[in-house]
């Protein structure tokens, strides 16, 4: 990773008629970084990516990709980027090899065809088939090959493993990690939490057109919400625990076992537990999915 920003987005606003799709997106991505862009359907992931490629134009805000404004220098941006759309569509009446040849021609024949074949072999893509006869997963493989084939400096991938079986997903993760090792910056959107958790250096969570969190996946898992299962030696009155800041009583089983939801640091809870005869405590770290859902369920976060 280097200190130079490959992507710089400032206060990006995009309306579709009356729908305010992006409400001031701010984001920076460093060179060589692998960033996961997380959010549910309709949150603005695809819109942000399409603004970066000058397919749609924001009403306000600025975007710089490698220092270039995509609206002013789209060719400079496109020549450095490999893009995989969220909904990949290609001409149906072409063979895979013909389609990929066409894509290499659009890149000025600067692509090493041997590398294209190598990529196709790795993800088990049959180049002789017609696009119209491919399954969704196999079409996705064509999309991945065309995005990677010119060894781009920046990969913009909108849900890259959509439609792929778990084995192929793993192979794609390997390809992305290899691309990153070669210095490629990778920006990928996903709603598969595990994917983001296992791949990304950093996660940006977008909700209703605003980035509500940027953090390392591990940090997100650690800081937000834990579930504490506590067993006491005797039946106790746990109402005092429910008064502790950041603690919510989720369930109580016969008075000797409780499940608490703990937001933020554990310090207050541990100090409070000093007054109780604790037999056992099990802390369940939330998954990124839970962290993600917490953002979407918490009323305070809605105002972010």
């Amino acid at each position: 990773m280097n200190d130079k920003n490959v992507i710089e987005i400032r206060d990006l606003q995009k309306y579709y008629g009356k729908v305010h799709a992006l409400r001031g997106v701010n984001l920076e991505v460093k060179g060589g970084e692998l960033i996961g862009f997380l959010g549910p359907n309709g949150s603005g992931k695809t819109t942000t990516i399409r603004c970066m490629l000058d397919m749609i134009r924001p009403q306000e805000g600025t975007i710089r990709i490698f220092g270039f404004d995509p609206q002013v220098n789209p060719m400079q941006v496109h020549s450095r980027v490999g893009y995989l759309p969220g909904e990949l569509n290609m001409e149906a009446n072409m063979k895979v090899a013909r389609a990929l040849r066409y894509f290499t021609e659009l890149r000025g024949n600067s692509v090493d065809w041997g590398y294209v074949k190598q990529l196709a072999e790795r993800i088990e893509l049959d180049l002789s088939k017609q696009i119209k006869n491919l399954s969704k997963g196999n079409k996705q493989k064509v999309g991945l090959v065309q995005a990677l084939m010119h060894r781009p400096q920046l990969l913009l991938l909108d849900e890259p493993t959509s439609g792929l079986d778990p084995l192929m997903q793993q192979e794609v993760y390997h390809l992305l990690k290899e691309a990153k090792a070669e210095g490629t910056t990778i920006f990928f959107s996903s709603h598969i939490i595990n994917e983001v958790e296992s791949l990304a250096d950093r996660v940006a969570i977008i909700r209703q057109g605003v980035i509500v969190e940027e953090a390392k996946p591990g940090t997100l898992v650690g800081i937000e919400v834990r579930r504490a299962h506590i067993r006491f030696k005797d039946i106790v009155d746990v109402s005092g625990l429910a008064q502790v800041e950041g603690v919510t009583l989720l369930s109580q089983d016969g008075g000797s076992t409780v499940t608490l939801r703990v937001e933020g640091e554990l310090d207050n809870l541990i100090k409070a537990l000093g007054n109780y005869p604790v037999s056992d405590m099990n802390l369940e770290r939330q998954s990124l999915e839970e962290a993600f859902l917490a953002y979407y369920e918490s009323p305070e976060k809605e105002e972010i």
Binding site: A21, G42, R50, M55, P74, P85, E87, M90, L106, Q146
Partner: protein, 280 residues
């Protein structure tokens, strides 16, 4: 841009071959009938008995015994509407059809400028149309010597030029409509409707002179048809070509500013003052 020309021609090869073979065969057939026409006694007298409403659509039909009148009646008088539908359909779908299918979402991320895509595809259409007309011309030219249709290759070629220009004009119109309207099929429908109305207006204006002032403002009024065998009206040709150029430039300008749409992103409605779309 060259890649897009090649790609467009590859996509249109079916149309080029299909239309080319069809029109080539039609040319062969009509030329072979020409010599038999001379043997049909009283043919012109019969035509004179036809109702004027029917003859109105074929203004040169009384000259059918001449090569010029024959080619005009059996080819150039109505090929504008037949090949016009091809031109309109091809151009309305030139870019917008790919957008509607979501294909453009991928292609526009490649390092080819919007101008490159636009002009490459339009040039592909122009070459495809010229190729169809060239094949069609050969269908008339090759058997002409043996059938008494005594025209030189150049004389026979001349009327294809106004036809080509009219086809490009209606194609350009459809392309412009496709940039302004929310769907390619609307652009096809509107441009086809205007072409049909214009064609009908030829006949109606011949019957009812009161309609002539309206006809005078339509593209087909400036179309020479078979009369171009005797010499081209360059003023009309350049005028039609100029209007085509203007419409293509407007379409290009719109495409430069266009948001490439995908499903669910909105923007599929009829835009208000679409022509004034800004690059924000």
């Amino acid at each position: 841009m060259f890649t897009e020309i090649k790609h467009t021609l590859r996509r249109m090869r079916g149309a080029i071959i299909g239309w080319g073979i069809g029109l080539f065969a039609y040319g062969l057939l009509m030329v072979s009938f020409y010599s038999s026409l001379e043997m049909m006694e009283g043919f012109i007298e019969n035509l004179e008995n036809y109702p004027p409403e029917m003859l109105a659509f074929f203004p040169n039909i009384m000259e059918i015994m001449t090569p010029q009148g024959y080619m005009d009646t059996y080819y150039f008088s109505y090929m504008t509407i037949i090949l016009g539908i091809f031109a309109i359909s091809a151009c309305a779908n030139l870019l917008v059809s790919d957008e509607e299918k979501g294909i453009l979402d991928l292609l526009m991320a490649y390092p080819v400028s919007r101008s490159g895509f636009f002009w490459g595809r339009f040039a592909g259409f122009v070459i495809a149309t010229a190729s169809i007309l060239l094949i069609s011309w050969l269908g008339w030219l090759i058997p002409a010597g043996s059938s008494g249709l005594e025209l030189s290759a150049l004389e026979m070629l001349r009327p294809f030029l106004p036809l080509f220009v009219v086809l490009v004009l209606f194609g350009a119109m459809a392309l412009l409509f496709s940039m302004l309207l929310p769907a390619a099929r609307l652009a096809t429908g509107l441009a086809s409707g205007l072409l049909i109305v214009n064609f009908l207006l030829i006949g109606l204006a011949n019957i009812n002179p009161d309609l002539m002032p309206f006809f005078e403002f339509t593209p087909l009024y400036f179309y020479q048809g078979g009369a171009a065998i005797g010499g081209l009206d360059w003023g009309n040709l350049l005028g039609l070509a100029g209007i085509s150029t203007l419409m293509v430039m407007l379409a290009w300008w719109r495409f430069q500013r266009r948001e490439i749409r995908v499903g669910g992103e909105g923007g599929w409605k009829l835009p208000r003052l679409a022509i004034l779309g800004k690059r924000s």
